[in-house]
Symmetry: D2
Subunit: 326 residues, 4 copies
């Protein structure tokens, strides 16, 4: 019965992560979508903006927050979540999952404190939390590739290259999201200075406090819409069998993160909430490859995973997604 279902609201429902959160919630067996807010699209049919939802929902975009909301997903731009919570009185019984970067480094909003929502690291804290700061997309892919090494205290310099799809850049038109520019193109951006480095270093130091913030991360723009593929190179003495065991153990209880025993490719995870990891070793260098769907495990999927944990549901509820694969 809908009466027993979790009432979910979405703030910023017209963008990519808002739409993707909505898609997941609409078919989640334990949730009813209570409202979808969007300042830019008030009053319009949700399916006029997210046209793939034609026939799936009759909802209109609202401009208000309903008090009777069990969980609120903030799908706003960076800086806007903080602003939204300052300007709107949200019932203290409403849990918040924020997809922006506003609360990932321990920032508070009024009395609300936020748990960094990476279930592979903080599952029990997430279960007890009222507020979640959902990790960044590159941060998720890079952290999941490094956490077992951090726990073992093995990280020194890390050289990481990552490539991301166009949806990582959001819906706003820019030269680099123009089809005529991006098709068949590759370029780098925010070389060594990507904003996710802060939460990555923070997360690694949670496990390996002495880590020296020495991740040299080169992000690339890829000519595809969805997905992140990352390769990290680390100098390590341990042999590959040991390292594979380390990873297998670390992720033995993970719902969506898997260590592969053969090379991975990006499309294995597209339209799923999985993170796949593959290790290779040559001489004293370990290479860790990891892959996620930036909108799912890198954003909305992980947000639902966090919601599942917060509400005591099966961690995979609503997240058994058919991959696109081809």
């Amino acid at each position: 019965m809908a009466a027993n279902k979790i009432k979910a609201g979405i703030i910023g429902g017209a963008g990519y992560t808002g739409g993707e959160t909505l898609r997941l919630l609409l078919s989640h067996p334990d949730v009813v979508v209570h409202f979808v807010q969007s300042r830019s699209q008030i009053g319009k049919k949700v399916s006029d903006i997210h046209k793939d939802l034609l026939g799936d929902t009759q909802l209109l975009f609202t401009d208000t927050v309903d008090d009777e909301t069990d969980v609120l997903f903030l799908c706003l731009g960076h800086g806007e979540s903080k602003l939204f919570l300052n300007e709107n009185a949200i019932s203290s019984s409403t849990r918040i999952i924020d997809l922006s970067q506003d609360f990932r480094l321990g920032e508070k909003s009024n009395d609300r404190t936020f748990v960094y929502g990476l279930p592979e690291l903080h599952k029990s804290a997430i279960r007890k939390s009222q507020n979640i700061a959902n990790p960044g997309c590159f941060a998720t892919a890079i952290e999941l590739g490094l956490l077992p090494l951090a726990q073992a205290g093995l990280l020194k310099d890390v050289n990481t290259t990552g490539i991301t799809g166009s949806t990582g850049a959001g819906q706003k038109s820019q030269e680099t999201t123009h089809f005529s520019w991006r098709t068949n193109n590759i370029s780098a951006y925010k070389t060594l200075t990507h904003q996710h480095l802060r939460e990555i270093n923070n997360t690694i130091k949670h496990l390996q406090p002495g880590f020296g913030d020495s991740i040299y991360f080169v992000p690339w723009r890829g000519d595809f819409t969805r997905g992140i593929f990352v390769s990290s190179v680390i100098r390590i003495e341990a042999d590959l069998t040991e390292l594979n065991k380390l990873y297998q153990d670390f992720y033995s209880g993970a719902a969506f993160t898997l260590v592969s025993d053969s090379m991975i490719d990006l499309k294995q995870v597209i339209n799923t909430n999985k993170c796949l990891i593959y290790l290779e070793k040559e001489g004293d260098r370990l290479v860790v490859h990891s892959a996620i769907d930036n909108l799912l495990k890198g954003a909305s999927g992980q947000a639902i995973q966090n919601m599942n944990l917060m509400f005591g549901l099966d961690e995979k509820s609503g997240l058994r997604l058919k991959s696109t694969v081809y």
Copy 2:
């Protein structure tokens, strides 16, 4: 309980439609995958071939058909289904859904007769049938665009152009499925002679017996992997309001076929079982656009829809799929 679930088997599980059928069945709430057969991959892990299924199944490919099977999906090449049924004694209590073209024109196998599995046209026959001939991908998209006109006896000459993704050509390597050839490329093939024309004409004449087989169909190869987009031009006097009403009425009970009131695009349906239709009229020419995912509504999704009907399940069971959209 699995004991009450439908036991499904897949013949030809290593190909595209076999894999896609498997993906759908693995998360279908009323089905348990009993076995996946493949002559070429016997004994291998299913997830070593369909690598996106890593973590989702421990099944190995088999080479035998289990007698205790409720429904058998034949995901074989054209001509091979007939051969398979000739060479294998399938229990008479096992229902068969054949994805090849072998039984779409009324062909029989031993005592088995096949219902053409287009739910929008033959829903009640499908519900009572033991054996289904699942429609072709282009056939599905074109027929759904024309059926309301056929029912009203309005079809004369039809000029149709359709474009299909590379998965329509199957897994075997050919020049035209080589990435270096197909990327950014368009070409035509089987001009006016596509094999689906037989079932399309057959289906139309079911509703409009006097139709003169006058569909002039130009198929194009598209530079994408999934999906079919079709535009049909027909000379018709009726005005657009009437025609929209005709279509809305015809599809009022359809689970997945929807008439849009604005232009459609291919990605609205990708990774879903939907067919979207949009009508435009200019002078005395009607243009009907229709779009499907060739592997879902055009193959495996429609097969599951047929299974749902045959077994008295909710027609949408296991088919509430998250679109990829971006």
Copy 3:
């Protein structure tokens, strides 16, 4: 010596056709680029906007037209060429090649009359002309596919579907040129009402005066950047051998339009000035496939071809381009 070279100026040099015209002129053996004007980019380095030209030119965008210009390429939006010629006094000795649609239907500007610049049809008039209205991209592909039939008086109803790359939509950001939308997507637009229909009908009637403007043209947006592929279906009694001879004869003197004896694909012409044509016949229906690069034979390449004719140069001068092919 530069002193003997044709001095060319470009108006609107920051857009796609302006940039492509510039690329061709920079390596044209008989031309020197005199100036490149752009209202939006005055004073900037040309290679800062057209970044592929780094190392190829030191030119800056200007805002003025130099009087000592032998030929002026107007690479402006539709309506803007007319405005530009009204507002700027261009020396009467300067020849004009206009890439907009402003003068394609016989419109005049002051005393200037324009020849429709399709060399396959109007070569001798182009040679003698002072002003050229360069044909539209879809118009070029469709007309070249139909002209031999028009000359033979064989055209009745024509059903045409065409697909175009994103560069056909220009540089301005729109939803349908956003990478996240357009990748792997297909949709229709301007169904049966595309603006090029006027010049197409006009051109056909030049050869077949009784033609009834009965081209039913459905344009599609393709998920690639460059190129147009068109298939036209026509009811015709003549057999294929006759028709091929008709086309071969018609294009025997054409510098860039070729009749293929096997199926064509789009990438055969990308980054070249060619138009390829292929004929198929089934029953009483002829299908004519044609393919061009929309920015070259469909715009800037044809403009240079016209310039070559106007100035008595080898028609292929500066247009022996290496195709991209892969």
Copy 4:
């Protein structure tokens, strides 16, 4: 007059690099294509295999080598060039440019010694050479990104990630060149073990003899057909201004290698013979980005550049190519 032109022959003319070499030679002002050999396509029209050349050449594939050949391009698979030269008596007056990796490390064939054909490093030796070992595609992009540092003795550990188009994998069908697999996909291969590392280390040590072979190179498969984009991260104390000057000086005489003062992207170089380089510095880490077209500067274009030098022609002759850019 053709009589004064260089007579060029191609061995292995049906593959990607053979085709690309042929395209360049056909429009080279100082060359006549004497013959195109292919064992697999003997007697067929060249334009039936390289269909973009329809109308550009009437040549047929041959199976013999003509003695009156001034320069022979070996466009064969790795290992096959050595075999070819063993099995065929090539006139001592015929110069050889080998595109395979067979002679890049100083290997000889009979009396023939080969100069490593990287004009930025060995221009004067190339001018005097009879035989050229044309560099590998990844090798070219990586070396050009590192040579100025090697000359200054500044290289220690180098962490490099590179991405390559599908044409880098050749024409043979494989799972990873199937369109349905590769579209929108990314994966790694030959991690830290790519065969080009040998020639890269060899070339670096030519300038910095003490270099410790410490390039950690992770190659990725990209979802595009043409191009290589590389980012190398190096620990270096020198500041960015100095480093830019170092690169500018090193490449001041280079015909096609340019140091950009803003971020580069892959499409700036596609369908050209350019290599673009861009430097960034953050803390003590230098990042060098470099981009080439793998079939041009990474293969056939560089081969023509070497030919130009060997025959005393303008280094850019036949290589002023229009980029595709969009």
